[in-house]
Structure formats: structure tokens, C-alpha cells
């Protein structure tokens, strides 16, 4: 992977000027490369990684992982039905999976009722959906490589040879 991406994936706020210094390149070249990545869709967007357990407001969200069994369609396989599912705003992630079911759909809702009514009234009623199994998420420990804990104190002694 290009080191520019490695740096940005770790901290998207790193400026092109700083990346240029780290990689001994010209800031202009770094900016152009980043533009290119954005245009090609390699970099989709920049966002903060939140620990939502610490966000205390009425908007706190409940998450569920839903296994979905599907009857594939002629010519388009799973793609068409997947599109119908992931287009719902309640769906935050959607993956095609090998194994005993087909789609893994991550749904976010205000509470257990909003999530279950989405499953019962929208998802399950779709023509090609054969069945669903819903798992409510109880606690998040690690997400996308980030461990969701308070920053640990520095354990190194401040000065050593």
C-alpha cells in the first residue's frame, strides 16, 4: 500500500505538508496524489472514529447484526437484492458472506423497537428474502482496528539511554 494511504488511514488529519516531510516528497505531489485517490474512490471520505458508548444523548444508537438468507436472482445474483437492502438508511453496513447465510446486514436504530420493526416490516417482507436471524450488539470492544478504551497512560519512563 502507498505510504500516503498508510499515514492517512492512521490519522486523516495529517496535512499534505507533513506527509511530504515524512516521505521526502514535494507537498504539491502529495496533494495531487491525494486528489487522485479521492477521485478514484480509493479515499472515500474522512471521518472521526467515535466511541459511541461515551456519547450521552438521546440519539444513542442500538446496533444489530442480521443474517439474511436470500434467493439469488437470474443474471444479477445477489447484487440487486443487496442494493435494495443497503439503500435503507437504517443499514450501516452490508456484506455478502460465504457459509450458512448470504448477507450480513448491520442495522442501527434508536431502540429495540425501531430495529425490530425494520426487520419485521421492511427486510423480511422483501420478495427474495427467505429468512433472517437478528443479533443485538451488547458491547463493543474493538472496531476497525481501534480498541474502544480510554487512552492508557504512558508506561515508559520519561528518559532513558
Amino acid at each position: 500500500m502507498d505510504e500516503i494511504l498508510e499515514v492517512l488511514e492512521k490519522d486523516a488529519r495529517t496535512s499534505a505538508e507533513d506527509i511530504a516531510k515524512m516521505l521526502k516528497k514535494k507537498p504539491k505531489d502529495i496533494k495531487e496524489k491525494i486528489k487522485k485517490y479521492e477521485k478514484e474512490g480509493v479515499i472515500l471520505r474522512y471521518k472521526a472514529v467515535l466511541n459511541k458508548d461515551l456519547v450521552h444523548d438521546e440519539d444513542s444508537r442500538l446496533r444489530a447484526l442480521i443474517e439474511v438468507n436470500i434467493v439469488p436472482q437470474k443474471d444479477v445474483g445477489f447484487d440487486k437484492i443487496a442494493e435494495r437492502i443497503y439503500s435503507f438508511p437504517e443499514v450501516s453496513s452490508c456484506y455478502l458472506i460465504s457459509g450458512s447465510y448470504d448477507l450480513l446486514v448491520v442495522v442501527e436504530g434508536k431502540n429495540i423497537h425501531t430495529v425490530s420493526s425494520f426487520v419485521a416490516e421492511k427486510l423480511s417482507c422483501l420478495e427474495n428474502v427467505r429468512g433472517t436471524t437478528t443479533h443485538f450488539l451488547l458491547k463493543k470492544y474493538k472496531e476497525d482496528g481501534v480498541i474502544l478504551k480510554h487512552k492508557e497512560e504512558n508506561k515508559r519512563i520519561a528518559i532513558s539511554y
Binding site: T14, K21, R156, A158, I159
Partner: protein, 385 residues
């Protein structure tokens, strides 16, 4: 009461900057660029191996030389990496870090008043360990040649009492390393004069501009070399205290004699973890190295642009810039910088009395810390000049 302490210990030079270290440790909100260890935690698979070994009940002594499977892994690693053959039975000793290994080697080869050459600035323990072993450290000041030892300079310092040289590359504190050609020239001078090379290559995996060349892999060098390496820097395992020495079997046998009476063996938990490091660690080493390499560019560029001229270090995670233009000596500079801007660096004099015009900066710190530290140093320098 006055005769309790031996003359030898009384004569040892105490570190002149202990008081400065205490000052740093007593202060809050300091950004420290004074740390001589990685800012990564030991990769999880290695930690997990240590934990499992405890769960399985591995809590005993090991062979004095160290676990056979660890010596075998070290032997294979050195063959694959550098093409050097060391027999795990007789030519490898597992030690409590390179620190212990260096002490053992010096005590094994030194007769009273033998001279040991030490290119300086140098890591803090080399001189005192030489003196404790009854030898005489002969420092070779490398300042004039951008901190690189030249073959001519080396030859000038050798006489008939010269027993060995402690050669450390990439170097703590300068980050300087040597190319194959430079090493070959040095090796020839050493062989010609029968000087044993104690080659401390603990930072080998953190070499950025070229492939690290191991001293015993040089043609004709191996019989005259004790090679030192360990797990501290490559695998972020400083607190585990595992290192090793490889060399001619007579020297390793001598070192093992001292080791078996003083240490017996390295902690088995650490040895088990170290085995895992050699098996799974390569990817994490590469990742850490890329990260350090980026920080190096950033820090060297930053130091030069705020007006502290700095040579380009090829390895380790240190920069050794000159502070001469501030007119301050290194200890005053470090104290003032700490008090006024809360940035800690190590005065150059820690690594040899002559280096009062330098400070050591460690870039084993997060990018945000480095950036903020450079900003504070820039403010500080504007006030001095």
C-alpha cells in the same frame, strides 16, 4: 565506615546528568524526546506466547546457555538474514539483554590494563563496563568525520595493548551506520592487528537507507568477532530483557562460565516470548521500521529548519543535532529547554564529555508529540539567538 565501598566502584564516574534525569521525572506535562526505547508495545502474539507459557507451567530454570529452541531459532535467523553460521550448541549464548552480554564479553577477554577502543560518542555503559573488567577504555572521537570511524583513525589508535573494539552500529546516540565498503575497510584493520570486534548491532533492524550488513558476515571477519543482538528494539521488548551473543566457541564458553555463576539463565517467560518473536515478528518489524523512517524524515527536516544543524542518521531512532550556535553547553541547553518549554532531551555529554555541543533526540515518540516538540523548540531557539 569509610572503607565499605571498593576503590574500583569509588573510581567509577557517576553519570553527570543524573540530577537532570531526576528533574525530568519530577515534572508533569513534559514531552519527552529522551526515551531510548520504542514507543510501541510488544506485538500481541509475542505477549500472548509469554502468557501461554505461564499458563502451561513453564516456570523453571533453563539451560545456562538459554532454551535450545531459542538458540536454534537465533541460529536460523542469522543464517537466513545474513548468511552467517553459528552453532546453537557452542556459539550462541542467551543473555539478559545486550548489556549483560557486553559485560560478559569484556570480562572474558580483558587482562588487567588491556585497552578497549570505543568510538565516541558512545552508549553509556561501554566505558564503565570496560573499567570494571580491569581494562582501559580508549575513546576515539568521531566528531570531525560526521561521527563515522575511519580506518586511518582506527589504525592510529591501535597499539600492542589493544585487545578489542566496541563497535555499535546503527549507533546510539548518533544514528550513524556503515555501508559494506566502510565495514570491510574497518574489518581489515582489525584483522591485521588482531583486535577483537565486539559488534553491538541491537538497532540492525532499524536501518533505513540501505540493508544492514552484519560484521561477522564480512569475508574473513567472523573468527575475530563477537556479535550482539537482542529483542528490545526490533520487537519493542525492552522490559523482557532478552539478548544474545554469538562468537567463537572459546569466547562463548568463557562468557557462559561467568553467566552461569552470576545470572544462571534468562527468565524462561522472556525466552519463550522471544522464540515467538523470531517466528512471527517480521511483519511487525517492517511496519515499525516504516513508521520510524517517516518520523526520521520529519524530525531531521524539522531540526534543520528551526536552525539546529543535524547530519542524516541512517538508523536507530536518534538524531544528534549540534546546538553550538546557541552558545549554551548541552546540559544548560537541556535544563533550560525543559524548564521553559517542557521538552526533555538528553545532553550530549551523557555519551562522552567532549559532546557538550550536542543533544540526543529520540524520535521514538508519536507524530503529534514530535510535531509539538519541534514547535516548542523553535520558540525556545528564537529566544536564545
Amino acid at each position: 565506615m569509610k572503607n565499605i565501598i571498593s576503590n574500583k566502584v569509588k573510581q567509577m564516574q557517576p553519570s553527570g546528568i543524573r540530577a537532570f534525569f531526576d528533574l525530568v521525572l519530577g515534572m508533569k506535562d513534559v514531552i519527552s524526546l529522551g526515551v531510548g526505547e520504542p514507543d510501541f508495545t510488544t506485538p500481541w502474539p509475542i505477549r500472548e506466547a509469554g502468557i501461554s507459557s505461564l499458563e502451561e507451567g513453564f516456570t523453571s530454570y533453563t539451560s545456562n546457555k538459554g532454551l535450545y529452541k531459542l538458540r536454534l531459532s537465533v541460529s536460523r535467523y542469522l543464517r537466513n538474514r545474513y548468511g552467517v553460521e553459528y552453532c546453537p550448541d557452542e556459539e550462541i549464548l542467551i543473555t539478559v539483554g545486550v548489556s549483560e552480554a557486553m559485560d560478559l564479553a569484556l570480562r572474558t577477554i580483558i587482562n588487567p590494563n588491556d585497552k578497549i577502543l570505543i568510538p565516541s560518542p558512545s552508549y553509556v555503559s561501554y566505558g564503565p563496563l570496560t573499567e570494571l573488567a580491569g581494562g582501559i577504555p580508549v575513546y576515539i572521537d568521531t566528531q570531525k568525520n560526521r561521527f563515522k570511524l575511519t580506518p586511518e583513525q582506527l589504525e592510529r589508535h591501535i597499539d600492542d595493548k589493544t585487545k578489542g573494539i566496541i563497535f555499535n552500529y546503527p549507533c546510539n546516540p548518533t544514528g550513524i551506520s556503515y555501508s559494506r565498503k566502510e565495514l570491510s575497510q574497518i574489518s581489515k584493520v582489525l584483522s591485521k592487528n588482531n583486535v577483537i570486534c565486539l559488534s553491538d548491532e541491537i538497532y540492525a533492524d532499524l536501518t533505513y537507507d540501505f540493508e544492514h550488513v552484519s560484521f561477522p558476515s564480512l569475508p574473513g571477519a567472523k573468527d575475530n568477532v563477537v556479535y550482539f543482538n537482542g529483542f528490545s528494539k526490533s520487537y519493542a521488548m525492552t522490559g523482557w530483557r532478552v539478548g544474545y551473543a554469538c562468537g567463537p566457541k572459546e569466547i562463548i564458553a568463557g562468557m557462559t562460565k561467568i553467566h552461569q555463576y552470576t545470572i544462571m539463565c534468562v527468565s524462561i517467560t522472556s525466552q519463550m516470548a522471544a522464540c515467538e518473536a523470531l517466528h512471527v515478528g517480521k511483519d511487525s518489524v517492517e511496519k515499525m521500521k516504516r513508521e520510524y523512517a517517516r518520523r526520521r524524515e520529519f524530525v531531521i527536516d524539522g531540526l534543520n529548519s528551526i536552525g539546529l544543524s543535524c547530519h542524516n542518521p541512517q538508523g536507530a531512532f536518534y538524531a544528534f543535532p549540534s546546538i553550538k550556535k546557541t552558545g549554551l553547553n548541552s546540559l544548560d541547553f537541556a535544563q533550560k529547554l525543559l524548564k521553559e518549554e517542557k521538552v526533555a532531551v538528553v545532553p550530549g555529554t551523557a555519551f562522552g564529555g567532549e559532546f557538550k555541543d550536542y543533544i540526543r533526540i529520540s524520535y521514538a515518540s508519536s507524530f503529534d508529540n514530535l510535531k509539538e516538540a519541534l514547535r516548542r523548540m523553535s520558540v525556545f531557539l528564537k529566544k536564545q539567538l
